[in-house]
Subunit: 413 residues, 2 copies
């Protein structure tokens, strides 16, 4: 089984070709969901799907599917592979595209090798995974899994004042299919890690067994904007200092926990933001993640308790707004086991791991057994032109996907 | 002596009248240095000076002087009183104006009472004390004291692209006198405290014996912008967390020192400032103040040492830019003693204190014995429409100024 291999040149060539679609005047890759440049990316993918002899289907939220329906597979639920092809601003070329194009590559390889699967195989490119232009992220797969109404999603106003539904109409990707029209038998997503773990441990394949729960909150602290020179330290209500205490609290707690908990304060603003004025307001975001729901809840509760103490000790007022909350996702143990076995059979190093980032697989996991395969990201970098995975690692990951898909199909023969 | 009193209605009326000059469409008081609205304020002050029978002189940097030269005082160096009438954006009506108008009020009171001083008395309104439109602040008094060349100051480019010299010409306040043309015998500045100390301690008069040294620095910390979900805590180079550690270090150290040291981080920015990205850069300002130069130097050195440790521990790079540095100023002990005595003779509570804010007096102290008188600011607020000092406190402060001036003049009779 491990002698079969995908067509490396075809896969790598397509990744690079798609990576050139949507460059702006400064050479930055910008293929925001439902934009003109993303339309060009979609068109290219659809052309490749047709070249491969697959059926093309588009649903109302713009998710695109290339469907291989070998004779005799009839109405059986398809095995679904995929990811997304929209990007952030100034993106790398691997995030999302690698999974979509590898799914197509696996199908083409199987066809070329005369392998006939026991069920259809669908390759999905989900709409607006990045969530840069329209919130929330992972929108296409969320709608597909029934977690968000299609009408609500289409009515979403973008950061540029556009409406997603109108933009999908405009670029010709407001399809006729109802989201969820194909009930997947299972879903497998191949993706770059977007983190440093595999590279650090010199491991080639990640068998992703779960995905962190995510808690996003915005905290606003209000104090008094007094003069930095004339207000004794003891008489201050310094919102900036209170915010700094939250950052060090979250950091020290996560470090000390010796758990996978991660805590990040990514956005921060001070008001009035003047050199000689004590900040009257500090507003910042808190990103908490943990693969264990109970632990994530406990972290949230600890933050609440700390903010209560802080308000008392620093004589500030604190308000908290919840921005997003996703429970952790457990992927399908059988698929994870198949991934491990496929890696082992090819002699590739492999470890079970947690996804720290959100992916379409976490949405599709609501309606079908799902799992993910990770390959290393050099430096752990993604969402950046420096995002890089070696050709060898890309090919190895696609071959593992090929083996897992063949195994799935064979089991039912 | 304490039976004499300034004309309270005249002083308070003028403070309010000047406070209405320069209101913008939203009712905000905006009288930026050398602007059209500040010209109107200058014109009003000059008209009052002329009404009082004083000579008007304007120097090349736009400082305006009302000079009372009683017969027989000849060429003796004048006693100088004053402050400034330019304001910040959305200012209160007391900062600066109170000192200028009280100086004029004291002169008019003495004239009306037939008191003849032993030397001329000059009332100064210094140009651009606030430094909002043109940097640095306290510019007019700095130039007057020889700390900045007049040509350099006139060439200063404003935040609006204008040049101070051209603006002074335009509004008619580029005078013929060379800055420093009057060598003050002494300088006394009456001002609202702009801090909370007098109000907190229920004390009416501050005899300001020194002024804090000021150290302004900008610190930039660079780390890595990795994914907030996928990067384990132990592998982060989090510039935001490093910045938070600086804030808590400075705060905790100042609190624990039990000295007048104050430390403030007023400006802060994170990059890329995204909720799910670890900050790659945090840039912030540090405002350190202390009335003791050795202690201020020690605080600066401790910050440098801490930043070195931080760079090592957090694996970040740190750069520091010096923005401003003023040594502490010691005011004249004799004048401070006269202020205390004048308050005591009137039965007013008084304490010696340090000015936490910068004032024109710190510049004039370079060329003449100087001191300041403070009255309470409600809530410690200034540079804000909520800036407020009660009428009774304003009158009491002006009467103390009157007594100190009379004492000065009497000593030489």
């Amino acid at each position: 089984m491990s002698n079969q291999s995908i067509n490396a040149n075809r896969l790598l060539g397509r990744i690079r070709e798609l990576g050139e679609i949507g460059r702006d005047g400064d050479g930055r890759l910008v293929r925001l969901a439902a934009s003109d440049s993303e339309k060009l990316g979609r068109d290219r993918f659809v052309a490749w799907v047709k070249d491969a002899g697959l059926d093309v289907a588009v649903d109302r939220i713009g998710n695109v599917f290339g469907i291989w329906r070998p004779e005799g597979t009839g109405d059986r639920p398809p095995l679904m592979l995929g990811s997304h092809i929209d990007t952030v601003v100034n993106a790398g070329m691997y995030d999302g595209c690698y999974g979509v194009l590898s799914g197509l590559e696996v199908v083409e390889t199987m066809k070329a090798q005369g392998f006939v699967p026991s069920r259809p195989i669908a390759v999905a490119a989900f709409t607006n995974e990045e969530g840069v232009r329209y919130a929330p992220d992972m929108m296409g797969s969320l709608v597909y899994a029934g977690g968000l109404g299609v009408e609500d999603a289409l009515a979403t106003m973008g950061t540029d004042g556009t409406t997603l539904g109108e933009e999908l109409e405009r670029i010709g990707y407001a399809g006729p299919e109802e989201p969820g029209f194909l009930q997947p038998h299972a879903y497998i997503e191949l993706h770059i890690e977007q983190g440093p773990v595999l590279e650090r441990e010199s491991i080639l394949i990640g068998a992703v067994e779960n995905l962190q729960g995510i808690s996003w909150q915005r905290v606003t602290i209000d104090g008094d904007a007094n003069h930095a020179g004339t207000t004794p330290m003891s008489m201050r209500r310094d919102a900036g200092h209170a915010a700094a205490r939250v950052i060090t609290f979250l950091h020290d707690r996560a470090i000390a926990s010796n758990t996978p908990t991660v805590a990040t304060v990514g956005c921060m603003s001070f008001e009035p933001n003047a050199i000689n004025v004590i900040p009257s307001r500090a507003a910042f975001t808190v990103d908490l993640r943990d693969p264990d729901e109970d632990r994530l809840k406990a972290e949230e509760a600890e933050l609440v308790a700390f903010l209560d103490r802080l308000a008392e000790e620093e004589q500030v007022s604190v308000s908290v707004e919840r921005l997003a909350r996703f429970e952790p996702v457990k992927f399908d143990a059988k698929i994870v086991g198949l991934i491990e076995k496929a890696a082992k059979d090819r002699g590739l190093t492999c470890r079970r791991m947690t996804s720290g980032a959100g992916h379409d697989a976490q949405m599709i996991a609501r309606i079908a057994p799902s799992a993910m395969i990770f390959v290393p990201s050099v430096g752990g970098i993604s969402h950046n032109p420096k995002e890089f995975t070696t050709d060898g690692d890309l090919v190895a990951g696609a071959n593992v996907l090929l083996d897992v898909v063949r195994q799935f199909a064979r089991e039912e023969e």
